[in-house]
Amino acid sequence: MTISTAPAPLAAEAPVTAAPPRGNRLGSWLIFVMVALYFLVPLAATFYWSLRAEKGVLSFEAYRRLFADTNFLPAFTESIVNAVIAIFLSLLIIVPTAYWVTLRLPWLRPVVEFISLLPFVVPAVVLVFALIRLYSRPPLLLTATYGSSRVVLVCAYAALSFPYMFRSVDNGLRAMDVRSLTEAAQGLGANWATILVEVIFPNLRVALLSGALLTFAIVIGELTIALFMAQHTLGPYMANLTRAKVYEPSAMAVVAFAITWAAMGMIAYISRERKGT
């Protein structure tokens, strides 16, 4: 898994600057167009290919075949379930942690931040290697069955989401000035369960959603860990498809792109909406 980034929720509006001289603008357009070409041509090529399944005609045959494949839906569903569970796991662990570290244990912050950076230091291919070795021998035998391996997989996904989830929640807590809100609530007599549920969570909605959507995008197509743990999720399915079929992979790539775009677009949308408050 490569490092991916979330657009920071509640990010500041881009500052207005005076228009630069003409020369700059030409250069800017040139750069933008050339880079845009590099990014759009592969997408266009893939989309074009996905329409060529039927000889001589442009049709959505490849998509039909993709969705008709008996292996597709189970793999897709399994990935979605994995993603949802990983998200909940991550939220349940990260939110209290971020809250505690901000309010009660600020000296612990460097440790927590370091740990949340571990998924970058230990990339997916190394992590799966280590996980398999650690959990494939008694007394920690967890790789014996498909189901138990799946548990390890989902937990690994949750751990891999920590950097993004923590940063997202942390930014959210900072933006809502959690300390002042907590103290105000306490002064009014609320206990800390009420504070968490009625004050913290509602104001964190955007940050939580952003973190969740980003985790979703990462997990849904994840290949490395799923492959080596012999799981039948979307990642390995897509890899097999690329070797086995000609046209379906292009349809699948378009679908994958659409899903990622939907997730990122939603993050951008909910972040923007917040600014009006």
Binding site: A6, P21, T46, W49, P123, V126, N191, S250, A263, M264
Partner: protein, 288 residues
């Protein structure tokens, strides 16, 4: 006043909220890594040794690391430069405002597009029967006859840039925002041309951020597995693919060496993240 119940102030109770985090990280991040580290010092007989690390100098391993470093350096430099210029273009370069949010959203998508879909997309573009390959053939240039291959150092670099450039854009945009308008005006006021402003003020201030992010890009590329696997079927000489081959039990017969290769990667990644953090802190001090 009031029976306001606060989370426990002292004693063991205050650990309640962070305990799940530490337990979970311990089980799924820290313990595995420690086990890996320990076993990398284990010899075939069962004692502790450094031979595994010495054997890292075999042609196979060196070749894989070398290729990984080559590709990572190239994509870090190229991705960094292109990403910087694109970020500059949409923030300070005078393009219409919507271009910036389009770019950031697309960057978020593209940096997550890595893996099988990205590999597939490039196969359809520049593979043997890809669209662009065909277009070039129409124009009289047979890429593959000329020696080009998507499954090579050049090809992988081209593919990796697809998520390296967006990563650079996303990280460097806040830094560019941090360049205060006042600085440019003060410099102008004191008689500097725009070129002098960039040379003496803007670029020096941005340098820690740019360098730091390029190092982040290096690490990102070095640890990338899925895209390379999807593109080459795991048959290319790359550090991450090499580790993957060991997990499947194929290539090396000495598991300890396998762990050493993996630890080598962890060390390189750790170093790059460390340097990135240091440079980020420095740039934050200036750009606030």
């Amino acid at each position: 006043m009031g029976g306001a119940k606060r989370p426990p102030q002292s004693g063991l109770g205050q650990w309640f909220g962070v305990l799940p985090f530490f337990v979970f990280s311990g089980l799924f991040l820290i313990a595995p890594t420690l086990v890996l580290a320990y076993r990398s010092f284990e010899s075939l007989e069962g004692g502790l040794t450094l031979t595994n690390y010495r054997e890292l100098t075999t042609e196979l391993v060196l070749g894989a690391y070398g290729m990984s470093i080559r590709i990572s350096l190239t994509t870090a430099l190229l991705g960094g430069l292109i990403g910087f210029f694109l970020a500059w273009a949409v923030s300070l370069g005078g393009l219409p405002r919507p271009f910036r949010s389009i770019t950031t959203t697309f960057s978020g998508v593209a940096s997550n597009f890595a893996g099988v879909p990205l590999a597939a997309a490039f196969i359809f573009t520049l593979g043997r029967v890809g669209l662009v390959t065909a277009l070039f053939k129409l124009l009289g240039l047979d890429l593959y006859a000329e020696g080009f291959s998507l499954y090579s150092y050049l090809g992988l670099t081209l593919v990796y840039l697809y998520f390296q450039i967006p990563l650079m854009v996303l990280v460097i945009l806040p830094a560019l925002d941090g360049l205060k308008r006042d600085w440019r005006e003060a410099a102008e006021n004191l008689g500097a041309t725009p070129g002098q402003y960039w040379r003496h003020v803007a670029l020096p201030v941005l340098l820690p951020s740019i360098l730091g992010t390029m190092i982040l890009l290096f690490g990102n590329s070095f640890g990338a597995h899925a895209t390379a696997y999807a593109l080459t079927g795991g048959m290319f000489n790359l550090a991450t693919l090499l580790i993957g081959q060991q997990i499947s039990g194929d290539v090396l017969h000495n598991p300890g060496l396998g762990y050493a290769v993996a630890m080598g990667m962890v060390i390189i990644m750790g170093l790059s993240i460390l340097i990135y953090s240091i440079l980020q802190r420095r740039s934050e001090r200036w750009l606030g």
